[in-house]
């Protein structure tokens, strides 16, 4: 049986993050907690971020969802850990460009595992799965700014 089409979407790295999610769990009290759901499909995530002196010192998530949304959350927490908040937001913008199939900045960031999600851009119905955790982070920093 051929899985060619599917392999484009479900790359091995993605399946690895799905199977062995990094940073799944909860941070101690005082962390920034953001709940986000995808109302069209029922996926939910709670992202927890610890920010010290403008830097994301730790990131974890809990939630329910499909392989793409959970793998993306795993990759996302992995990649923003240690970044300055504005750098993390920039990375989120790059990820958004990648999902929309646009040219994206590959020079200034080490995209690492995230790049494996590039194939999602060819499955429009699944883009929102991949961006859920990133949107949660953006929402968290926006609300913190407004507070």
């Amino acid at each position: 049986m051929s899985f060619n089409n599917l392999d484009q979407l479900y790359r091995q790295v993605i399946m690895d993050h799905y199977k062995n999610p990094r940073n799944k769990g909860e941070l101690e009290e005082g962390a920034l907690k953001i709940n986000m759901n995808n109302p069209t499909c029922g996926d939910t995530i709670q992202l927890q971020l610890k920010v010290d002196d403008g830097k994301i010192s730790d990131a974890k998530f809990i939630g329910e969802g499909c392989s793409i949304s959970l793998a993306s959350a795993s990759m996302m927490t992995q990649s923003v850990k240690g970044l300055e908040v504005d750098q993390a937001l920039k990375l989120s913008g790059i990820f958004s460009d990648m999902m929309q199939g646009k040219e994206y900045d590959e020079e200034n960031f080490d995209l690492g595992d995230i790049e494996a999600l590039q194939g999602v851009s060819k499955f429009p119905a699944r883009i929102k799965c991949a961006t859920l955790s990133w949107k949660a982070m953006e929402k968290g920093f926006k609300e913190q700014d407004e507070a």
């Binding site: 899985f3 499909c66 392989s67 119905a125």
Partner: protein, 407 residues
């Protein structure tokens, strides 16, 4: 018996490849496909008789009015209403239910009153009631479900009280496929002095409907799920109730006399049809009804019941697949696979040209009751075949195999 291959020929959209595979459309509970007759009828309306209704002295205006009112008569006959005065064209089921909640609910509910619905309702039969009880101080109550996703009349009797003013229940569940005993529930509602509202979105396309036999007070359904165009639906209401209700929208079309500070309304059903109505949509729905009548609703229901049964048999041969809802059901099979998330199931099936729905199916409270965040659903209509089911089941096996390799 109906000839499914002949029926399929009349649905042009089915004869295409999706992702390099012949399309297998198993999402008719979301929206049905349209036969050539309906597509042609809408086109002919715009090409030959398009005009506004109920006002033109000119010939086209008369033709358009005849076509629009002719469609109303077809709907009346189809649902066995006693008069076209009881047939109101709306945008769909959602609008129809909102009309009842707003026009009837707000005027007839007060603090201490109850609205009773069930735990399996679609959002469009939950939220309008949430809103109207908030506005009136009434209470919203739920009839619980049996473990197999059916409703026990005993639970209806225990939930509906003398304080209940409105009972609103779906006739067929869009998730579980449950066929609810509307006639019996309506009798209990009436014994307690409540009106009976029926969400017929998932029943009207698939079975004979007789609103007088059901003895419901309001009945709502959508055209697009029964081979008609999107944007047209129907609210049936008993004349006596409709006469005492205020219009839902105010403006052109629905008036009798307009003064500077006061106005009066047209007769039924037009007082509920403010603005230029959905003329082409009604014409398309009328043609869809002709099409369905020609095949016969009993034949359609029998065919779908068979497909659902066959699909459940086939699915039960796959390890780790759970099916939600009762044995006896309409043509809806909602399921989950223990290894593969429903979105992933839907994506894998899509790469095989198979269209199914994945998610919460606009029934979040029901998902909570099922203790799942999402499910996948295959739904059948008159144009589906056993081969469609076989392709679907093979696709699901493929999804299991693909994800099984991961774990």
């Amino acid at each position: 018996m109906m000839n499914v291959q002949d029926i399929r020929k009349q649905f042009p959209i089915l004869h295409q490849e999706v992702n390099g595979k012949p399309l297998v459309y198993l999402d008719s509970a979301a929206t049905s496909q349209k036969p050539t007759q309906v597509i042609d009828a809408v086109e002919r309306y715009y090409k030959e008789i398009n005009s506004n209704v109920h006002r033109g002295v000119h010939t086209l205006g008369t033709h358009a009015t005849d076509a629009y009112e002719g469609a109303r008569e077809k709907v009346r006959e189809f649902i066995h209403a006693s008069s076209t005065e009881e047939v109101i064209f709306t945008r769909g089921t959602t609008t129809a239910l909102n009309m009842v909640a707003s026009s009837y609910g707000r005027a007839n509910l007060q603090e201490g009153d109850e609205v009773v619905i069930t735990a399996m309702e679609h959002h469009s039969n939950i939220i309008p009631w949430q809103q109207v009880v908030k506005a009136t101080g009434a209470t919203l109550k739920y009839i619980p479900l049996q473990p197999d996703g059916t409703i026990a009349l005993e639970d209806v009797e225990n939930t509906v009280t003398a304080n209940t003013k409105i009972v609103s229940v779906m006739q067929v569940s869009n998730v579980l496929g449950t066929i609810n005993p509307i006639k019996e529930i309506a009798a209990i509602a009436h014994q307690n002095g409540a009106v009976m509202v029926v969400d017929g979105a998932q029943s009207t396309p698939h079975m004979n409907i007789d609103v007088q036999d059901l003895d419901c007070d309001f009945f709502a359904f959508s055209g697009h799920k029964m081979c008609g165009p999107t944007g047209i639906g129907v609210l049936y209401g008993k004349k006596k109730l409709l006469e005492n209700m205020e219009p839902f929208e105010f403006g052109g079309e629905m008036i009798d006399f307009v003064g500077l500070y006061d106005s009066t309304w047209k007769e039924l059903p037009w007082k509920f049809e403010g603005g230029t109505p959905i003329i082409a949509g009604a014409v398309g729905l009328g043609t869809a009804i002709d099409f369905l009548n020609e095949i016969g609703m009993d034949n359609i229901q029998q065919h779908e019941t068979h497909l659902a049964k066959y699909a459940m048999q086939q699915l039960s041969t796959i390890e780790g697949v759970s099916i939600y809802g009762p044995e006896k059901r309409a043509g809806v099979v909602t399921f989950n696979s223990d290894e593969v998330h429903p979105h992933d199931v839907a994506t894998v099936l899509d790469t095989e040209g198979i269209a199914v729905r994945a998610g919460h199916h606009c029934a979040q409270p029901l998902m909570k009751w099922l203790e799942v965040s999402a499910t996948a659903r295959a739904s059948f209509y008159l144009y589906n075949t056993e081969e469609d089911v076989d392709t679907f089941v093979a696709g699901l096996r493929k999804a299991k195999e693909f994800f099984g390799n991961v774990f």
